[in-house]
Symmetry: D3
Amino acid sequence: MRILLINPNTTAAVTEQAAAHVRRLIPAEIVAVTGRFGAHYISSRAAAAIAAHAALDALAEHGAGCDAVYLACFGDPGLLALKEVSPVPVVGMAEGALHLACTRGRRVGIVTGGVLWRPMLEEFAASLGLSSRLSGIRAIAPTGGEIARDPDAALARLAAACRACAEEDGADVVILGGAALAGLAERIRPDVPVPVICSTEAGARAVMAAAGLRTGRVPPPATASTGLSPALTGLLAAG
Amino acid sequence: MRILLINPNTTAAVTEQAAAHVRRLIPAEIVAVTGRFGAHYISSRAAAAIAAHAALDALAEHGAGCDAVYLACFGDPGLLALKEVSPVPVVGMAEGALHLACTRGRRVGIVTGGVLWRPMLEEFAASLGLSSRLSGIRAIAPTGGEIARDPDAALARLAAACRACAEEDGADVVILGGAALAGLAERIRPDVPVPVICSTEAGARAVMAAAGLRTGRVPPPATASTGLSPALTGLLAAG
Amino acid sequence: MRILLINPNTTAAVTEQAAAHVRRLIPAEIVAVTGRFGAHYISSRAAAAIAAHAALDALAEHGAGCDAVYLACFGDPGLLALKEVSPVPVVGMAEGALHLACTRGRRVGIVTGGVLWRPMLEEFAASLGLSSRLSGIRAIAPTGGEIARDPDAALARLAAACRACAEEDGADVVILGGAALAGLAERIRPDVPVPVICSTEAGARAVMAAAGLRTGRVPPPATASTGLSPALTGLLAAG
Amino acid sequence: MRILLINPNTTAAVTEQAAAHVRRLIPAEIVAVTGRFGAHYISSRAAAAIAAHAALDALAEHGAGCDAVYLACFGDPGLLALKEVSPVPVVGMAEGALHLACTRGRRVGIVTGGVLWRPMLEEFAASLGLSSRLSGIRAIAPTGGEIARDPDAALARLAAACRACAEEDGADVVILGGAALAGLAERIRPDVPVPVICSTEAGARAVMAAAGLRTGRVPPPATASTGLSPALTGLLAAG
Amino acid sequence: MRILLINPNTTAAVTEQAAAHVRRLIPAEIVAVTGRFGAHYISSRAAAAIAAHAALDALAEHGAGCDAVYLACFGDPGLLALKEVSPVPVVGMAEGALHLACTRGRRVGIVTGGVLWRPMLEEFAASLGLSSRLSGIRAIAPTGGEIARDPDAALARLAAACRACAEEDGADVVILGGAALAGLAERIRPDVPVPVICSTEAGARAVMAAAGLRTGRVPPPATASTGLSPALTGLLAAG
Amino acid sequence: MRILLINPNTTAAVTEQAAAHVRRLIPAEIVAVTGRFGAHYISSRAAAAIAAHAALDALAEHGAGCDAVYLACFGDPGLLALKEVSPVPVVGMAEGALHLACTRGRRVGIVTGGVLWRPMLEEFAASLGLSSRLSGIRAIAPTGGEIARDPDAALARLAAACRACAEEDGADVVILGGAALAGLAERIRPDVPVPVICSTEAGARAVMAAAGLRTGRVPPPATASTGLSPALTGLLAAG
C-alpha cells in the first residue's frame, strides 16, 4: 500500500513531522509532499482557499502510482475537489478523524490551534452532516505553526481545552486536530478525563480503511483550463 | 488482533457466512458468536429490541480476550449499550459502513432486504447524525434471511434497487446492507453505475481502524440486576 | 377503560408508587406489572436495552384484555417495539409527557435523576422530532432509585434544577421526569417560577387521550424466535 | 369541565358542526363561539392573520368561566397569542391532532381542503418542531368550506389523498384535518390502509388531557391598546 | 420610487421617527402610515397578532400607487399575509435586515428591546430558515417604546448587549433591531468590536433591492369576509 | 459607486456579457475582471476550487479604489475568503440572488446549466442556512459555457426546468442562475407560471444594498505566503 500524504501548506517541516508520525503507526509506504505555493501555515479562509488549489497541484504532480491520498491538513482544504479528480480514494485528516471519533463517542470535541479555524471547522463538520455529533470546538490562540515550533509551551493550554470540552461541553471523546500537533495527544491524554484522539493518526487509519475497500469508480469530468501547471492541466483535461 | 463478531440473531448459518467473508478480507482472528435467544432473523422492531439484549449477553459470555467487537447486524441492535459496557472498542456494521461510505461519496444510498428495516435504518442514520448524507433507503421485500437462503433469486432485484438509488435518488455510492448479503456486492457491482459497498466488509474495515486507534477509556457504571445470565449479571455489576 | 402499566425495571416498589399516583388522578383501571428480569433501576444504556426486552415480555404476559398500554419508565425503553406488536395503543411516559408539555410551553425543560439519562433523553427527544422544543435536560446525580428511597433529601436539588431550567436555559415549562419521582412535582412547584409537570401524571393523561382516539390498526409482522418466554414467543409469532 | 371552542372563521354552521361532533365524543360542556369578523372560510394567509385577531376577540368576550380553550381551526391561527393571554390552557386543533398522531405513528400524513393550506401547515408543523414526523401534506382543491357544503362529493378525493399519504409518502397514520371535515374520518377509514385520525376529535382529546394537567401558570404582560373591542382591550390591559 | 412604510403599532411618533430615518438614507418617496387599532407598542404575541390585521388594514387603505411596501416593525407581524395580497413587493424590517446582515457576517447577533421579543424573533428567524446563522438574540428589558421615549438612558445597555453578542455568542455582525431604535446604531458602533447594523436602514435598503427586481407575479386568492374595513374587504375580495 | 465585478473563470466573453447586463440595470461604475488562471468555464468542484484562488488573485490586483465587490459566478467560489480579506463589502451572485429571492417567495427553485453544479449548489445553499427555503435545483445538461455560446438552443429546456420547479417541486419563485445566462430570464418569464429571477441582476442589486449599508469593519489576519502573485502576497500580508 502506497499513500500520497499531501500537506497543502508550504512548510516542509510540518509535512515531515506528520509523515514521520504516520510511518510509525501505519504499515504503508508514505509519499509525503508539500504545497508548492500558498500560506506558510493555513489559519485563515484565504489561506485555505489557496491551499485547495495547491493540493490539486500536488496530486497532479505526485499522484501517479499511489493507492490512496491522505489530505493531511486538519480542515481538509480542497477535499471534494481532490475526490472528484483522483483515480484513487482520498480521505482528509478532519474527515477521517471525525468519522472515526464518532465510533468512539457520542459527542465529539475538537481542540486545535488558531482561532480562525473554529468557524471554518464548524462549517466543515456541517458539510459532513456531523454537526449534531460535535460538542464544540475550542481553538487556542497559537496557530498550528506556532505550536509546531514550540509544542511544550502549548501542552498545558491544549490539555485545558480538552478538559473543557469534556467538563463544560459534554464531549465524551476529543480530537486534537492539526498536522502540526501530531504526537501531542499521547502527552496530554493523562490529563484529560475522556479519550483523546490524534487527528494525524486517526486520519491515517481512516485512509487505510478506505483504501482497502473495494467499490468501483465513476470517471470525473474533463475540464479545459488556462494558466495552471502542466500536470494539473493534464489531470483536469483527462476527465 | 482478535475480533469478537457478534451476530445477534439466532441463526448460526448467517454468523458463519459473515465470519467467513470477513476472514477472507481482514488480517485478524475472528471469534464468531450467535445470539442465544431472539428472532431467527431480525426484521422488525421487536426482534431488534430483543437482539440488543442478546448482543449484550453474547459480549458478556465471549468478550474476554478480544481486542475489538464487531456487531455484525446491519441496523446495529444494542450498539450504544455494547459500547457502554465493553472494555474494548465496538463498531456496528451499519455504523461502520455508513461512516466509511461517507468518505467515498457525498450522498449514500442503502439497499437491504425486509421492508420494515427502512424506517428503522432511517432512524439509525439520524441517530448517527448522518441523515443529510443519505440519498434514501430502498428495502426489497425478501428479508435478509430469505435472501441468504436463495441469493441468486434476489440478485436482480438488489441490483435494480441499487440502480434506482443512483438514478432516481441521486446516490453516488450505495451500501448493500446486511450480514446475510455478505459477498453479493461484487456480483451486482457490474450492473450499477456508482460504487457499491459490501456492508460486511466495510464494517469490518471500520472495526480494524477503530481497534488500532489509541485513545484511553472511561469506565462504565455498575448496575445491579435480576434474572439475567451469570456472565451478563457480572458484566453489568463490574462497572 | 383498563390500562396496562408496565414498569420495565425489576423493582416492584416503583411500580406500586407510579400506579398509585395514576390511580389517584385518572378514572381507569390500572393493571400494574414489573419487569421479570433486568436492572433494579434503569440508569444506563445497557439497563435500558435489557428493559426493552423485559417490557415486551410483560406485554406478552399481561396484555390480554387491556385497552391501552402505559410504558411507565421515563426514557421509554422498547417504546417502538411495543407499539409494533401491541394490539392496543401504547404511550410511553417520556413520549406522552413531552408531547403534552409542548402544548403548555414553547421551550420544555426536563429534570430527572441519574446523570447517564441526559444523553439518552436527548436522543429520545430527537427521535420524537422534538429537539427544537427542548430547552435542556438537567440530571441530578442521585438516580431515580435513590430518589425514591429518600425523596426528601432530593427535593431541594430537584427544585434548584427546575429553577435553572427556567432561569438559565429559558424553559417556560419543566417536566419532572421519572416513575420514581411520581408526586414530587406538586411539592417543588411553589419554588419554581414556571409550570412543573409530573411525568407520571402527564404520561397517564396522554395514554387516556390516545386510548380513546378511534383510528384503525395495521397488523404487525409475524416473527419466528428461539429461547424467549412462551407468551412472547406467541405474541411475536402471531403477527 | 367547561371548554370554550373557538371557531375563528365567521361561519356559524362550521362552529355548530364541530361542536356537535365534539359533544358526541367528549364528556365536557362545550361553549362554542364563532369569529366576529374575518373570512367566511379561512384558506389563505391573509384570512388566517385576521382570524388570529378574531380568536383573541372571542376569547376576551366568552372566556370567563371556562376551564380550557379549544382553538377549533386546523392551522391554529393565533395559537401562541391565545396561550399568552389566556388564564386557562389553550390547545389548537392542528397542534393537538399532530401531537396525538405522533403517539400513533412514526410518520404522519395530513389531508385537508384548500391548496393554500399546504405551505401554511408545513410551517405550522415546523413551528411545533414536528417537521421530521410529517410524511407530507396533501391538500385537495375544494376548501373546507366547500367540503362542508357537499361532503359526499369530496369523500372519494379525500380517501384517495389519504391512500397516497400511505402508499407514496410512507405515512403510517393520516390526519384528516379541518373543522369542516369533522366526522368524515370514519367514513373514509375503510378505504385507507393505515389509521385515519379525525382532527376535530383528536384536538378535543388533547384539550381534555391538557385541561386536566396540573402545572401552575405565569402571568401575561399588560398591554395598552387602541381601537379594539372593550373586552379585548381589558384582557390585554389586565396582564 | 414610492414606498409605503407601514408601522403596525398605533404610535404615530414611532412611524415618523422611522420614516425620517429612511428619508435621510434612501432616494425614494416614503408614504408612512400608522396602525388604526392595536397595541401602542408591540411587545407581546397578542399585540403582534393584532398588528398583522392592522398592517393588512393599512395596506388596503394606503397601498394604491406605491411601488413597494416596507413593513417597518422588527418582527414583521403579518409579513406573509401582506406578501400574499399585495400587488407590489413587500419586505419586512427583520426579514430585510437579517438577509442583508447574512451577507456581512457568518454569525448574526440581534439586540432589541422588550424581553418577550426574544422567542418571537427566534421563531421568526427559524421561519426564514436562518436559525443556523443566528449567534443569539439579546433583548434588554426596556421595550422599544420605552427606548424611543428616552434613548440616552438605553444606549449603554444596548452597547453592552451588542458587545456580549460578539464576545460571548460569537457574532461577527450585530443587528440593532426596532423601528423605535432607528438611528441608534451609529451612536453605539464605536463601542462594539464588530459591525452594527441599523435594522431600519437595512430593511429599507432591502426594500429598494426587492422593489427594483423584475420578476413577474402570481395573483392572490379571492376571499369573502365579514366585519372588516371596506378597503380590506375589497382587497381580499379582489383576489 | 464603483463595483469590482470578478468573473473567476478564464473566459473574458462571459465577463463582458455579465458586466454589460449589470451596467444596463444598476447606476454604478462596473470594473469587470476575468480570472488569470483556471478553467475556461467552471462546472466541477476542481474548477471551482481553483477559481477561489483566481478570485483572490483578481481582488488583490484590481480591488483598489472600489466600493464593493461582486463575485459574479453563480456558486460563488472563494466567497468567504474574499469577504475575509476585502476592505469593502463582497457579495456573491448566488448568495445575493438567494437572499433576495427569499423575500419574493417562500420556496425558491434554482435552474442552471451543468449537472455537476447541482450538489455544489445544494451545499452552498446549506452553507448559507437556506436549505429549508430551496424547493430544489434543476441543472440542465449544457454547461453555462455551452449555453452562452448558443442561448437560443437552451431556452426551451431552461423554461421547462423552471416550470418543473413550480409544478413538481412547489417553488413559488425560480432563480435562473449563472453569469452566462444573464438576460435570459426575461425571455423565459412568459412561459413560467411563477416569478423568474435573473441571478446576475439580483446579485447586483444585493451588492448595491450591501455596499450602501454602514456598519464598520474588522481587520483580517496577516498571512505569510510563498509562490503567489505580488499583489496577492501583499494583500495577505497586509492583514
